[in-house]
């Protein structure tokens, strides 16, 4: 698994598509209202959204992803970094933000490569 992390609008998905030659139809965009993720897609985008969806369904995002490890072990996972900035007012958003960082740390440990994208440019962290 290759993990690509960066801030909003930094061009992580564009980078992944360009380097892997996968196409937009190979991408699954996670949303905060669904936990039934289509792991057959090669690129999982906006994976931080899984945290919102998991908490809504009363599940632990790290355990949720760990239990499905074999399904994404050869995928590209893209996460928006939402760890900086103001603490969200909504307790659920606060919990999701914290669990997104915990999930990122879990995925960093599991990843074969970790890349950070800044203004469209990539840097390998692991």
């Amino acid at each position: 698994m290759v993990l690509i992390i960066g801030g909003a609008y930094q061009g992580m998905l564009e980078y992944a598509l360009e380097k892997t030659h996968y196409r937009p139809s190979d991408v699954y965009n996670c949303t905060r209202d669904r936990v039934d993720i289509d792991f057959s897609k090669r690129i999982l985008n906006n994976v931080e959204e899984i945290c919102y969806a998991c908490l809504e369904a009363d599940r632990n995002p790290v355990k949720f992803m760990a239990a499905r490890r074999s399904k994404w072990a050869n995928s590209v996972i893209i996460m928006n970094d939402i760890s900086c900035g103001l603490v969200p007012m909504d307790p659920r958003d606060r919990a999701a933000r914290e669990s997104a960082s915990r999930l990122a740390i879990y995925l960093v440990n599991e990843a074969d490569a970790v890349i950070r994208v800044f203004a469209g440019l990539a840097k390998r962290l692991k």
Binding site: V2, Q10, R23
Partner: protein, 216 residues
């Protein structure tokens, strides 16, 4: 050398950019310009401007006030220009005084700065990194953030160096950064080459079809 610098608030972007500008001008004995982009709206803005001016005292900068239309303001093609900040350039252009929004502002500034990067070789751009929080913003703010990110990406690509400042520590990002082997393997494994070949064959079949019934 054109340089793009971004990073969080008070992380040392301006200081780093100023040192770089002074060094660039000193090496080549050229005029040093500070492009002041902020149009002050209140006392806080005026204080910030004063603080920045104080910081630049004695460094030899000539200040140019240019909140908009940079290409008209940067006339000395031999000069070293510090443009601080891209963030202000976009807000000046995007949020009009009458309260309306100029939606094409990012596209306009992107084109303008790209052109400047092509015609001049000693530009230092300072932008603000505002992309790593969990807040949900209004559509207006999201449009602004996205617009700034588009400009940032263009500058990072067009400039010779892209730098992220983190509490005084600069990190350089490279366009020719090695693509991780894992991604290359994915590219090799995926069947896009085969799919392309299939598409070509299909295209050829379409081309080979008779154009009209008369041809048959």
């Amino acid at each position: 050398m054109n340089v793009f610098i971004s990073g969080g608030a008070k992380n040392g972007k301006s200081d780093f950019a100023q040192e770089l500008a002074v060094k660039m001008a000193g090496e080549t004995d050229r005029t040093l310009y500070y492009v002041a982009t902020m149009i002050p709206h209140d006392d806080e803005d005026r204080e910030r401007i004063e603080r920045h001016q104080w910081n630049r005292n004695g460094l030899g900068f000539r200040t140019i006030e240019a909140g908009k239309n940079l290409s008209q303001a940067l006339t000395d093609h031999e000069g070293v220009y510090l443009i601080d900040s891209v963030t202000a350039l976009l807000s000046n252009e995007m949020f009009r005084e009458d309260g309306t929004m100029y939606h094409s502002a990012p596209r306009k500034i992107k084109a303008e700065l790209k052109e400047l990067c092509h015609t001049m070789d000693s530009l230092i751009f300072v932008s603000d990194y505002m992309y790593s929080d969990a807040m949900e913003y209004s559509d207006t703010v999201e449009e602004y953030r996205k617009g700034l990110a588009e400009i940032d990406k263009t500058l990072a690509k067009e400039c010779d160096a892209a730098i992220e400042m983190f509490y005084g520590f600069p990190t350089q990002y490279y366009k020719n950064e090695d693509v991780p082997e894992e991604l290359k393997q994915m590219a090799a494994r995926n069947d896009s080459a085969a799919r392309l070949e299939k598409a070509r064959t299909f295209g050829q079949l379409v081309l080979d079809l008779p154009e009209s019934e008369e041809d048959q």
